[in-house]
C-alpha cells in the first residue's frame, strides 16, 4: 500500500503533526500472545470472590436472577454484537426490529404509551426523566419523595448542577416551581410507596410524576401507568444481565404519548418500502444531537442496545405468566425470609408497618460481625445502608436483604442458621 501511495513509510503521511508532539514510544509493556493475555485476565478474575448465586442476598439495585441460556445465545451472535447503531436501516433490520420489540415490551411492562431504545442505566435514566420534566414544564425544581437510591440521587444532583435545576426533598416541597415529583417503587429500602398519591399531588401542582421502578416487580405490582405516572424509568439489569460489578446494565424510560417528542435518545418506528413491506427505522431524529445539535433533547448517541436485546429475550422467554411467577416467588420467599430473620434474637424489622416486595430492611446488633460470619459461610449477606445516611441514626444498624428465585429454600435455611448463631 505504501508503494501505491508513493511514500516510503507511514511517517511520510504524518506531515501535519508538529514535530514537538510526535511521541517516541508509548510507555506500555509489549504485547502478549492470546494465551498470555487470557492468563493475565484470568489471574485478575481469580483475585475476586464469586459468591454462589443462591447464597447472594445483597441487592441495593443489582440482583442475582436466573438468566435463561437463550439470552447469552442471542446477544453473543456477532450479527448483533458487532453492528453499529442502525444508521442504514435496510441492512440493520435485525437490530431495528429488536429495538422496536424492546420499546413495546417496556411500554407494556410500565403500562405507558411509548418507551425509548434504552439508556445507560437506571440512575441516568432518572436524570434524563427529570430533565424532560424541566423542559416540558419550564420549571426549575425537582422534588424527590421517599428513599431514592442514594447513587441515583447523587447522579440526579450532578445533572441538575450542570443543567441548572434544583433538587428538593419531600412532598412538602412540591409547589408551583415543581417540574416533577420523583418516587422510587419499591424504594431503596425495599418498601412500597403510594405512587398514586404522589402522582395525584404532582398533578395538582401541574408537575409531572416520575416513577423509578423495578421491572421484575411489575409482574406483581401496579405499574406506573396504572398509578397515574407520566414517566417511568428504571434499571433493567434484572432482565437477563449479570451483575458484572455494576455494568453494563440497562436504563429504560417510558412515558405518556404527549411527551414522546421530549424523549432522550434513540427511537425506532415502523416504516414501509415502495412495495409495502414493513420495516423499521430510527425515527423522530429531529430530537437528536446529530440533527438538532445543541437544541437536541439529549446528547445520547451510543446507548445500551445489546443490553436491551438481552432484556427482550428475557421477557419473551418468561412471557406474562412467567414474569408473574418470578415476581411471586421472589415476593413469597422474601416474606418467608423476613419473618424468620425478624424472629431471631437481636434482629428486628426496621419498618414493620410498611409492605415490601422482595427486599427489606432489618435492624440488628453486631452488623459487621454477622456479615463476616455469613461471608465465612459463603454467603453474601445483606447491604448495610448506614454509609449513605451518616446523619440518620435510626438507619445506623439497618441491613437490606433481598431474595429472588435463585435463593432456594436450603439457602434461606443456611442464612437463617448462620444469622442465628449467638
Amino acid at each position: 500500500m505504501l508503494r501505491a501511495l508513493g511514500v516510503g513509510s507511514v511517517e511520510d503521511l504524518l506531515v501535519d503533526l508538529p514535530p514537538a508532539v510526535r511521541l517516541d514510544r508509548l510507555d506500555l509493556p509489549p504485547g502478549s500472545s492470546e494465551l498470555e493475555t487470557a492468563a493475565c485476565l484470568r489471574r485478575l478474575a481469580a483475585r475476586n470472590r464469586v459468591y454462589e448465586d443462591r447464597l447472594c442476598f445483597r441487592g441495593g439495585g443489582v440482583y442475582r436472577r436466573f438468566i435463561p441460556a437463550a439470552v447469552q445465545a442471542v446477544i453473543s451472535r456477532p450479527e448483533f454484537a458487532t453492528a453499529y447503531t442502525p444508521y442504514q436501516a435496510e441492512a440493520s433490520q435485525g437490530t431495528l426490529q429488536a429495538i422496536f420489540e424492546f420499546q413495546t415490551l417496556i411500554a407494556e411492562l410500565t403500562a405507558l404509551d411509548v418507551a425509548n431504545a434504552s439508556l445507560y442505566d437506571g440512575a441516568t435514566a432518572l436524570a434524563e426523566a427529570a430533565m424532560m420534566a424541566v423542559v416540558h414544564t419550564g420549571r426549575s425544581q425537582v422534588v424527590v419523595e421517599g428513599y431514592l437510591h442514594p447513587e441515583y440521587e447523587e447522579v440526579l444532583r450532578c445533572y441538575a448542577a450542570g443543567r441548572g435545576f434544583v433538587i428538593r426533598a419531600g412532598l412538602e416541597a412540591v409547589g408551583e416551581d415543581t417540574a416533577a415529583v420523583v418516587v422510587q417503587q419499591p424504594n431503596f429500602l425495599g418498601l412500597l410507596e403510594d405512587v398514586e398519591e404522589v402522582a395525584g399531588l404532582a398533578h395538582r401542582w401541574g408537575a409531572l410524576a416520575v416513577v423509578c421502578v423495578d421491572p421484575i416487580s411489575l409482574g406483581l405490582l401496579a405499574p406506573p401507568g396504572e398509578c397515574g405516572a407520566d414517566i417511568a424509568v428504571g434499571e433493567g439489569q434484572q432482565l437477563g444481565l449479570p451483575p458484572s460489578f455494576g455494568g453494563p446494565h440497562l436504563g429504560f424510560v417510558a412515558c405518556r404519548r404527549e411527551l414522546v417528542r421530549r424523549l432522550p435518545g434513540r427511537l425506532v418506528g415502523q416504516a414501509f418500502d415502495a412495495q409495502g413491506r414493513r420495516g423499521f427505522v430510527l425515527t423522530l431524529t429531529a430530537r437528536e444531537q446529530h440533527i438538532r445539535r445543541e437544541r437536541a433533547t439529549s446528547n445520547i448517541c451510543t446507548n445500551h442496545s445489546l443490553c436491551a436485546l438481552a432484556a427482550s429475550v428475557y421477557l419473551t422467554y418468561l412471557g406474562p405468566e412467567g414474569l408473574r411467577r418470578v415476581a411471586e416467588v421472589s415476593f413469597r420467599r422474601a416474606h418467608a425470609l423476613a419473618e424468620r430473620l425478624w424472629a431471631l434474637p437481636g434482629v428486628e424489622a426496621a419498618f414493620p408497618a410498611r409492605p415490601f416486595f422482595n427486599e427489606f430492611p432489618v435492624r440488628m446488633f453486631h452488623v459487621e460481625q454477622r456479615l463476616r460470619r455469613l461471608g465465612e459461610a459463603g454467603i453474601l449477606g445483606g447491604l448495610p445502608v448506614a454509609r449513605w445516611y451518616p446523619d440518620r441514626p435510626e438507619l445506623r444498624d439497618v441491613v437490606l436483604f433481598c431474595c429472588t428465585e435463585v435463593n432456594d429454600p436450603a439457602a434461606l435455611d443456611l442464612l437463617v442458621e448462620v444469622m442465628g448463631r449467638a
Binding site: 509489549p30 460489578f245 438538532r292 446528547n299 412471557g319
Partner: protein
C-alpha cells in the same frame, strides 16, 4: 424475507416455561391496592420459537464480524473474540458492585491498571472510568471543567465548538447548561484560527476539539490553538472518539489538551452492540483531578480501594464504577496489543485510510487535500448532476455486500461520504470496496434510476423515513386495541 414481530407470533394460552416453585409457607398476600390489574401483553412463545426468531433477526443485520463496515467516525475495527470470553468469566461477570473491597481486589486492580494505561496513551494525569459512552464522557468532562471554574469563582457560560464537530459535542455542552458558540472551519477543513481568536473571551469555559478532526485532518495549528484557549483561562477539551490515528503517535496531553474522553467501543476494540454498551472514560490534567467523579480507584501498597472522600468531586455521573464488562474487554485489548501493537495499529489505520482515499480518486470528490489521518471525507456532489445523492451511493453499496460509509456528516461538506477503514482490514477488502464505489459511480452516470432504486437485495427495499416520522408508530399494539400510540 421479513420476520413477524414476536408479538405477532405470540400463542395465547401457551404454558410459561418451567420455573422454580416458591417452596415456602409465606403466601402472596400483597395488598390489592399495590397489585397490578392488567398483566403486560408480553409475547407467549416457546424457547425454540424465541431462538429462531432472534436468529432470523440476526441474519437480517450487516455486522463488522461479517463485512467491511467503513462507517466514518465509528472505528469499526475487529473485536477480538477472546475478549468476549474473558468478560464472561465468573470472576468478572458475577461480581456484585457492593461486595466488600477485600473480595474484589482483582476487579479494582484491573480498573487501576486500565486507568494507568489510558493515561499513558493520552498523556493525562488521571482518568475516570465511569462514563458509559462518548457523549456521557463529553458531558462529564464539561461538568469537571465547569466545577473547576466555579471553584475559582467563575461562572463561564460559553463553550466553543467547531462547525465540523460531532453532534454530541454541542448537545453535551447544552445539557451542561452552556451556550454553544460555533467556530468556523477554514476552506481547507481545519479550525479557522482567526474566527476562534474572535470568539475567545473570559466567558468561554472550554473549546471542544476533535483532532484529527471529523474530516480526518490533523489540526496543524494545535499548539497555537492551545495557547490561545489557555490565554483566556479556558480549558481545551479533546473529543477522543477519534483516537485511532494517534496511539503511540502523539498524546493529547502533549498537544495542550486539559481533558479528554475516549470511546473504548471504538479505538479499544470493544464491540458496538448495535448501539452500545460502550465506555467513555475521561482523563484530565492535574488541576482538574479534584473534580473527577467519585469514587476513584486508589492503591495502597498491594491493596486497591475505592476513594469516596473527594469533597470537590462533581459527584457521580452514573451508578457504580462504569461499564465494567466493557472495561474488561478494553483492558484485554491493551494487554494483547501492548505499546508496540497499539502504535502499529494507528500507523496501519492511517495507511489504510490514505490508501483507500487514493483508490477513490476519480470516483468521488475529495474536497480537502491529503494526506489524511485514520479517516477521510469524500463528497458525492459530483453525482448531483445525475440526480444521484450520497444516500443513493450508500444504498448501492449495501446491495454489493458492504455497509455504507457515514453520509451527510460532517455537516460542512455537501453530500459528505465519511470513510474509516481501520487497521484490521486487508488490502484486498479495501480494493474490493474501492472497485464497488467506482462501479456505482459509473452506474450513477449511466443509469441513475438504478441506483435510486437500491437496495434490492436486502430483506426490505428503501424505507420511507419521512413518512415514518410524520406518523410515528413506535410500538406494536394488539389488533383492535383502542387507538394507536401515535404522538
Amino acid at each position: 424475507m421479513t420476520e413477524p414481530l414476536s408479538f405477532e407470533k405470540s400463542r395465547a394460552g401457551l404454558a410459561p416455561p418451567r420455573l422454580p416453585e416458591a417452596e415456602v409457607e409465606a403466601p402472596d398476600d400483597l395488598p390489592e391496592r399495590w397489585r397490578r390489574r392488567n398483566p403486560p401483553r408480553l409475547p407467549q412463545l416457546s424457547e425454540p420459537e424465541i431462538l429462531r426468531h432472534y436468529h432470523r433477526l440476526a441474519s437480517m443485520n450487516y455486522s463488522a464480524a461479517e463485512r467491511f463496515y467503513p462507517l466514518g467516525s465509528c472505528t469499526m475495527k475487529y473485536n477480538p473474540v477472546l475478549n468476549e470470553q474473558l468478560a464472561r468469566l465468573p470472576g468478572f461477570a458475577e461480581l456484585h458492585p457492593y461486595q466488600d473491597e477485600e473480595t474484589v481486589q482483582g476487579a479494582l486492580e484491573l480498573l487501576w491498571q486500565l486507568e494507568r494505561a489510558l493515561c499513558a496513551v493520552t498523556g493525562m494525569d488521571r482518568m475516570t472510568l465511569q462514563p458509559a459512552a462518548g457523549a456521557h464522557g463529553e458531558w462529564t468532562a464539561l461538568r469537571i471543567v465547569q466545577a473547576y471554574h466555579r471553584a475559582r469563582g467563575e461562572e463561564r457560560d460559553q463553550v466553543l465548538v467547531p462547525d465540523s464537530a460531532h453532534g454530541t459535542n454541542p448537545a453535551s455542552a447544552a445539557l451542561c447548561g452552556f451556550t454553544v458558540v460555533e467556530v468556523r472551519s477554514s476552506p481547507e477543513g481545519r479550525v479557522d484560527v482567526a474566527d476562534l481568536r474572535g470568539k475567545l473571551s473570559g466567558r468561554v469555559a472550554a473549546l471542544m476539539l476533535t483532532n484529527p478532526n471529523t474530516l480526518g485532518l490533523f489540526e496543524r495549528d494545535i499548539l497555537e490553538i492551545a495557547e490561545l484557549v489557555h490565554g483566556v483561562g479556558a480549558k481545551l477539551y479533546y473529543d477522543g472518539a477519534n483516537l485511532n490515528a494517534l496511539m503511540g503517535i502523539c498524546r493529547p496531553g502533549d498537544m495542550g489538551f486539559d481533558a479528554v474522553h475516549l470511546n473504548l467501543h471504538k479505538t479499544f476494540a470493544t464491540p458496538h452492540g448495535g448501539g452500545g454498551p460502550g465506555a467513555g472514560p475521561v482523563g484530565v490534567r492535574r488541576e482538574l483531578v479534584p473534580f473527577l467523579p467519585r469514587p476513584t480507584v486508589e492503591r495502597d501498597g498491594d491493596r486497591f480501594f475505592l476513594d469516596h472522600d473527594r469533597p470537590a468531586s462533581i459527584g457521580r455521573v452514573r451508578s457504580f464504577y462504569g461499564n465494567f464488562g466493557v472495561l474488561v474487554r478494553a483492558f484485554a485489548y491493551i494487554v494483547a496489543m501492548g505499546g508496540d501493537g497499539l502504535a502499529q495499529a494507528s500507523l496501519d489505520a492511517v495507511l489504510a485510510a490514505n490508501y483507500l482515499r487514493r483508490r477513490l480518486e476519480g470516483a468521488l470528490d475529495l474536497p480537502h487535500p491529503g494526506p489524511c489521518m485514520h479517516e477521510f471525507v469524500a463528497s458525492a456532489r459530483n453525482l448531483t448532476p445525475h440526480g444521484v445523492r450520497a444516500v443513493d451511493l450508500a444504498k448501492g453499496l449495501l446491495d454489493l455486500g458492504f455497509y455504507a460509509p457515514t453520509v451527510y456528516f460532517p455537516l460542512i461538506v455537501p453530500e459528505a461520504v465519511m470513510i474509516e477503514p481501520t487497521e484490521t482490514e486487508t488490502r484486498a477488502t479495501l480494493d474490493a470496496f474501492a472497485d464497488a464505489v467506482h462501479e456505482l459511480v459509473r452506474t450513477a452516470q449511466a443509469r441513475p434510476d438504478d441506483l435510486r432504486s437500491r437496495p434490492l437485495r436486502l430483506p426490505v427495499g428503501r424505507l420511507d423515513e419521512v413518512a415514518a416520522a410524520r406518523r410515528p408508530v413506535l410500538r406494536w399494539m394488539p389488533a383492535g386495541s383502542e387507538g394507536d400510540p401515535r404522538p
